[in-house]
């Protein structure tokens, strides 16, 4: 017996929720970024499951694009974090309050 589509979607939602929880509670920019990646991976899991259970390739192709965008996003995001660290000497979000008031 193979797992149903509901099981895959539920697992994907749970992984997304865990990643979202991490974005909310963590104060370290790099860890927040890792949790964002986790949310993206959870979304791709749902897309692949839908694609397989509906007998279409569109979801798979979308996951391909999502992976490409994620790679570019990680490169730019990490460059920004390094630039921020050089300027402020911290990457804790509590100390990055230049835009406040």
């Amino acid at each position: 017996m193979s797992p149903s589509l509901d099981a895959y979607v539920l697992l994907s939602a749970a992984l997304f929720a865990i990643g979202f929880f991490g974005v909310l509670v963590r104060r370290n920019t790099l860890v927040i970024f890792m949790c964002l990646e986790l949310m993206l991976a959870a979304a791709t899991l749902a897309l692949v499951a839908f694609s397989r259970f509906n007998n279409t390739e569109d979801g798979d192709v979308f996951v391909f694009f999502i992976l490409t965008v994620a790679a570019a996003e990680v490169a730019v995001g990490l460059a920004i974090i390094v630039a921020l660290f050089r300027r402020k000497q911290t990457i804790q979000v509590d100390h990055l309050d230049s835009l406040k008031h």
Binding site: M1, S2, P3, L5, D6, Y8, V9, L10, L11, A13, A14, L15, A17, I18, G19, F20, F21, G22, L24, V25, R26, R27, N28, L30, V31, M34, C35, A41, A42, T44, L45, V48, A49, R52, F53, N54, N55, E57, D58, D60, V61, V63, F64, F65, L67, T68, A70, A71, A72, V74, A75, V76, L78, A79, I80, V82, A83, F85, R87, Q92
Partner: protein, 170 residues
């Protein structure tokens, strides 16, 4: 058999995801992320998306997590920062956690998505269909992705150069 593999991989991926969120040490968090992505790649294999599983391992586990580890070591972060929650943050966290739990619960209780049994082809035919779609229906998005990667590369070069110049002038 498939059910056992699915249960094992899903439990493993959720434990590793919790490890990413709860680990004090960022290096351990990155390692947990690596394991979680490997478990997701295993789920892709179970969904017969072999190419995507391969790309996920190659791009995420090979490049992205390695990049994360490099940056963590470069910045030499102090682990174990204590969590101080302000009142507004606490309220926002509680509300969003409640929303997430309600949503997950609804999905678990009454989520009955209509779907037939999974349809699987052989690896070769699936790959051929995949590349055919990529170069016919999705030709424009492929080119846009190429442009996006170029822009991203230029952006990274510009970001890292400007800060370097300012450090020199200081």
């Amino acid at each position: 058999m498939q059910q056992i593999a699915f249960t094992g991989l899903s439990v493993f991926s959720m434990v590793c995801a919790l490890g990413v969120v709860l680990n004090k040490n960022a290096v351990n968090g990155a390692m947990c992320l690596l394991l979680c992505l490997a478990a997701i790649a295993g789920l892709f294999v179970e969904l017969h998306a072999y190419l995507l599983a391969f790309i996920l391992i190659l791009v995420y586990a090979g490049a992205v997590v390695a990049l994360f580890l490099f940056i963590i070591m470069l910045l030499d972060m102090q682990g174990g920062q204590r969590l101080r929650v302000k009142p507004m943050q606490g309220v926002a966290g509680v509300i969003s956690a409640a929303l997430l739990i309600v949503g997950l619960n609804l999905l678990a209780v009454r989520g009955r998505l209509e779907s037939g049994p999974p349809v699987g082809g052989t690896v070769g035919s699936s790959l051929k269909l995949y590349s055919y779609q990529l170069f016919t229906t999705y030709l424009l998005p492929v080119q846009v992705m190429g442009f996006l990667l170029l822009v991203g590369m230029l952006g990274v070069i510009v970001i890292s150069r400007r800060t370097g110049e300012r450090e020199d002038s200081r």
